[in-house]
Amino acid sequence: MKIGLFYSYGPHFLQSAKFLREQYSEDELLIFVPQSFPKDCLKDITDKIVFLPWDGQHLNFRSAISTFPKILQIIRKTKLDYFVILFESPRLIFLSQLSKAKHRFIFTIHNEYKTLTTSLISILLKSIKNRIKGQLLYIYIYLNIHLFKYKKI
């Protein structure tokens, strides 16, 4: 069985790698990391480190559009059985759905390992709803601050 772990910047990355190694000691563990990642950190943990054409930083929308297909292509080529992500963000869920892996999992910041059930549609709708709500709140606070100024008595 092939298990793939996708790197994200977070305190639980190393824990997740060690956990997967123990959990699936007989299986092949692949870890997808940014290109400049120090591979010595993962010696004795993984069978294969797969370097991605990405510097590990958060990508803005434009660079995400150009980088995402390249990352996806590399992941799909490995033909994973399990794909594990570290955060439940729309981008990572999207990536996991398109990864071609048979099963998708998340290793949370609280060190919980569970099946990823969130669908892309639901997370996108939630994200859009939150954005609209957030924008309206921001405008309300902005107006409050700029229209009602404090005058010292």
Partner: protein, 425 residues
């Protein structure tokens, strides 16, 4: 002998296992007071679903405690007060301590004082939350901010919105942001009442004299109570032994190194500079930023308490290169208790704990050249490291155990603040 009168402690952010120094402080102070026979009750307000606060099991705490769970949608000052009110009415305290809390503490104070004006209220300030609307660190553009809500309220309102812009727009809101929104801290009404509400606290406890002086400028009086440690686990670690010149030395940075305020980059730059001259050292740090890993700079990830003690045991020097005005610096105290030489930024509470060249080394904040120089001196002289470390350990044992902090500061404060029979009438 402990007083017969009852004390209630209310905390808005408490978690155990601790999320930071404030939780550790609250836990140990209450534990000691309870052991000394003070009738007390701890109320931890917990927001349902929050991951960074309110996570504790009251039955596992060594003092009487209740966890008050509030649904996320109802997290507002009125709901919080209504829930607190139940305990205030049944427990009938003679003194209230407001422990760690962000901006929501202000409207809750207002409500408590409105309904219970006769009960003295003491507020513990753990960081810069009393001065800043943007974040409890009062840290902006990689440096400490000198402005305050008392002095420049309109500027602080704009600055807070700028700082919270991303989280508000995406509705991906932190605990600080949530308290800001639910308390309407951006509003003119909040700002107008801010100073008055702060003055309703009968006493304010701060960590250091710099805070105290600043509050004095705004005619707010406060008392300084430093933090402490439980020394036993640290005293188990033997003092470091002298090392030969070419023997490898270990430099350790512990704590939440990944926070930009902690100055990890300063240590990295200083290490790089030193590495050009010598290779008899390695730097270990409790960071999870493993992209920085190289043969001499080794992020260990987050460590358990036991793992951290093992790390201290092999360390020769501990570095605390903070960029923000640390109110206290628990990490400094712990490192000193292990008998390691501490090299820390000369900033905030750190400069009040360490006496330069006597119990540790202080260097100019954010100056990596100065840090490299101090580290070089320490790496060169085993004896200096051992003397400074040993002095540091003695200083901590004499001044900063929780037993001493509670006996010397909290008990006199409580006895002084409790209303006498006449006052009460």
């Amino acid at each position: 002998m402990a007083t017969e009168k009852k004390i209630i402690f209310i905390d808005f952010n408490f978690s155990w296992k601790p999320n930071g120094g404030a939780d550790v402080d609250t836990y140990h102070v209450l534990k000691k007071l309870h052991e000394k026979g003070y009738p007390l009750l701890f109320i931890g307000i917990a927001e349902d679903g929050a991951t960074d606060r309110g996570k504790f099991d009251p039955t596992q705490l060594p003092f009487p405690a209740e966890r008050v769970l509030i649904p996320e949608k109802k997290w507002n000052p009125y709901e919080i007060f209504n829930r607190i009110k139940l305990y205030l009415d049944s427990f009938k305290p003679n003194l209230i301590f407001l422990q760690h809390g962000f901006i929501i503490k202000i409207p809750v104070t207002h409500l408590i004082k409105m309904y219970y004006p006769h009960i003295p209220l003491i507020s513990r300030i753990f960081a810069h939350e009393i001065f800043c609307l943007r974040n409890p660190l009062r840290f902006k553009h990689q440096k400490p901010c000198k402005l305050s809500i008392f002095e420049t309220p309109d500027y602080c309102r704009k600055c807070s919105l700028e700082g919270l812009k991303y989280e508000i727009k995406t509705s991906n809101i932190t605990s600080w942001g949530k308290d800001y929104i639910r308390s309407k801290a951006y509003s003119l009404y909040f700002i107008r009442n801010y100073h008055n509400t702060v003055q309703k606290w009968d006493k304010i406890i701060v960590y250091n004299k710099t805070f105290q002086k600043e509050l004095e400028q705004y005619k707010i009086s406060s008392v300084v109570i430093p933090g402490g440690i439980e020394p036993e686990p640290f005293l188990q670690i033997p003092l470091p032994k002298p090392k030969k010149d070419n023997e490898e030395k270990i430099i350790l940075m512990s704590g939440r190194c990944d926070e930009p305020t902690k100055g990890m980059s300063i240590l990295f730059e200083a290490g790089k500079r030193l590495r050009e001259k010598r290779n008899d050292f390695k730097i270990y740090l409790t960071s999870f930023n493993i992209s920085l890993y190289n043969e001499w700079f080794i992020p260990t990830g987050w460590l358990s308490h036991e793992q951290l003690l093992k790390m201290y045991a092999i360390a020769d020097i501990c570095v605390v290169p903070s960029l923000w005005e640390e109110p206290f610096g628990l990490v400094v105290l712990e490192s000193m208790a292990t008998g390691r030489t501490v090299c820390a930024s000369n900033i905030g509470g750190l400069s009040e704990i360490i006496q330069h060249n006597s119990t540790g080394i202080l260097f100019e904040p954010s100056n990596y050249i100065a840090l490299a120089k101090e580290l070089e001196n320490l790496l060169n002289t085993s004896q200096t490291r051992i003397t400074l470390g040993s002095n540091a350990r003695n200083y901590v044992i004499q001044n900063h155990t929780w037993e001493k902090i509670v006996n010397n500061y909290y008990i006199p404060l409580i006895e002084q603040s409790l209303p006498t029979q006449e006052n009460h009438k």
